[in-house]
């Protein structure tokens, strides 16, 4: 019953809002270029179906590329940090500097260095840059939060550094990594879209480019359709990573067991 209410209530809210929106636009005869009616957005979506889904696919693939690259890089760097305090002290401040510098500010440089002929790679790199830090800090916290007695026990039984990492530290850090990935996945999408805006029209082919292009032409219904797709993609990425988290932790971690 609770589950039905959990689903039914947001759906009811959506129906009410969309209904009120449709009515208000018709009632006050709001011009389409200011606020299109939901029915007009659906129509724009159907008309531009192939170009919008192509843009969605491009945005999705670039985001995933950047995100997976960020996870791999963060994992490697966190493991390196966990093995040497000296390396952590030397490099961690630069990871922080990279994070606090807004991606829009770095975007022009990256675009120039990598070149507009490799625009997708540049966008993936920017998406990855922004996703990198939350994943890194989460794994670092996870690797440091391991039960010290368990580490002592592994040492007592003659575990090598890699055995300790593989058998004790990494499994122990898994919940932290997955939590960081949920944040990183959504942020990667934001980074990708921001980078696409920075790249400007004419080069990128993703949803942000469709938003820029359609709004320039005052095709606001298409802009809304692209926005809805973007939001849906963000929710889908978050849901997929939440599902992965639940699946990997379902037998042993309180967060997944209670879910």
């Amino acid at each position: 019953m609770k589950r039905i209410v959990d689903i039914a209530l947001p759906v009811l809210v959506a129906v009410l809002v969309i209904g009120a929106w449709q009515w208000a636009v018709a009632h006050w005869q709001v011009p389409t270029y200011v606020l299109p009616a939901p029915s007009a957005i659906v129509a724009a979506f159907l008309t531009n179906f192939s170009s919008l889904t192509a843009a969605l696919t491009a945005t999705f693939l670039i985001t995933i590329e950047g995100f997976l690259g960020a996870v791999a890089a963060a994992l490697m760097l966190a493991i390196l940090f966990s093995q040497s305090r000296l390396i952590e002290r030397s490099l961690y401040p630069y990871a922080v500097i990279l994070q606090v510098t807004p991606v829009v500010a770095i975007a022009p440089l990256i675009l120039i260095w990598i070149g507009f002929e490799h625009i997708n790679l540049a966008l993936a790199l920017l998406a990855g840059l922004i996703a990198f830090f939350p994943v890194l800090t989460s794994i670092m916290l996870g690797l440091k939060s391991v039960d010290p007695n368990l580490m002592d026990l592994a040492r007592l039984y003659g575990a090598s550094r890699w055995q300790r990492l593989w058998k004790v530290q990494l499994p122990s850090a898994l919940p932290y990594l997955l939590s960081g990935m949920k944040t990183g996945g959504v942020i990667a999408l934001i980074g990708e879209v921001t980078a696409e805006f920075a790249a400007g029209s004419g080069t990128a082919t993703g949803l942000a480019w469709r938003i820029t292009e359609s709004s320039n032409r005052l095709e606001i219904a298409t802009t809304f359709a692209a926005l809805v797709l973007l939001a849906t993609l963000g929710v889908a990425i978050f849901a997929a990573l939440s599902l992965l988290e639940w699946w990997l932790l379902r037998r042993w971690h309180e967060s997944a067991v209670r879910a």
Binding site: D147, N149, L150, D152, L153, A154, R155, L156, Y157, G158, A159, Q163, K167, V168, P171, S172, L174, R251, W252, H253, E254, V257
Partner: protein
């Protein structure tokens, strides 16, 4: 088996945990280290295990360093792994072939009364069962020396007594040497052959009490007498 000679230990924060700690443990002996809270019992056990290095003095192994099993106050299990994988950990770390390690861990779990719980995760087990897995893990590598750091302190009395009986049985059956850290007079009087009463911090051995035979139950006259002797020694330490 163990010869602890004039060991001292001071931690980086300045705490002097042990000063001039000396004692010996013979092969197949069950010895309890007993003392007030914070007297350095656990530090002494960690030094014997090699998890800490003495600041002064040394720990000698006249017949060579034996295989050691260690049980912490908390079960210290890997929550992401089932009971079998937890009990198998020392064997995995020694690269024992999987089939052999599984067979050994299954057998050890059965010995501590956990037959049928091999696939259970720690969160599905009670506190006592988790401690049994922890003991199984310590026994899986077939140690000659078992070190236990107040393993039953967090358990209820019924579970504590049951686990104590099991430990006594395992010690006798396997011919283990046991060094058992506790702050329970009744536990030490029933389980061990010898009790080393430690002073307050910095800890050293204040009394070395050999307990008489005939302590077959917790309420037998010999056990009660042993309790009185240990309590007296402990009171002297507290009064000092």
């Amino acid at each position: 088996m163990i010869d602890v000679r004039s060991v001292a230990k001071r931690f980086p924060n300045g705490t002097e945990a042990l000063r001039d700690l000396s004692f010996a443990v013979k092969d197949k002996e069950f010895v309890s280290l007993l003392g007030p809270s914070g007297c350095g019992k656990s530090t002494a056990l960690r030094l014997v295990a090699g998890l800490l290095i003495p600041g002064d003095g040394d720990i000698a192994w006249p017949h060579g360093k034996p295989e050691i099993g260690f049980v912490f106050q908390e079960p210290t299990l890997m929550p992401w792994a089932d009971a079998l994988t937890n009990a198998r950990l020392p064997l995995d770390l020694k690269h024992m072939p999987r089939a052999q390690a599984d067979a050994r861990a299954t057998e050890t779990l059965a010995r501590v009364g956990l037959k049928g719980f091999e696939q259970a995760y720690p969160r599905e087990l009670s506190g006592g069962m988790k401690m049994r897995v922890s003991i199984a893990r310590a026994l899986a590598a077939r140690p000659q020396l078992l070190l236990l750091d107040e393993p039953f302190a967090a358990l209820d009395e019924i579970t504590r007594n049951a686990l104590g009986d099991d430990l006594r049985k395992l010690w006798r059956e396997d011919g283990l040497t046991v060094l058992f850290v506790t702050h329970s007079v009744s536990e030490s009087s029933y389980l061990s052959q010898r009790v080393l009463v430690m002073t307050q911090r910095p800890g050293r051995v204040a009394a070395d009490i050999a307990l008489p035979a005939g302590r077959d139950s917790r309420l037998s006259p010999a056990t009660v007498e042993a309790q009185r002797t240990i309590s007296d020694a402990l009171n002297n330490v507290m009064a000092a």
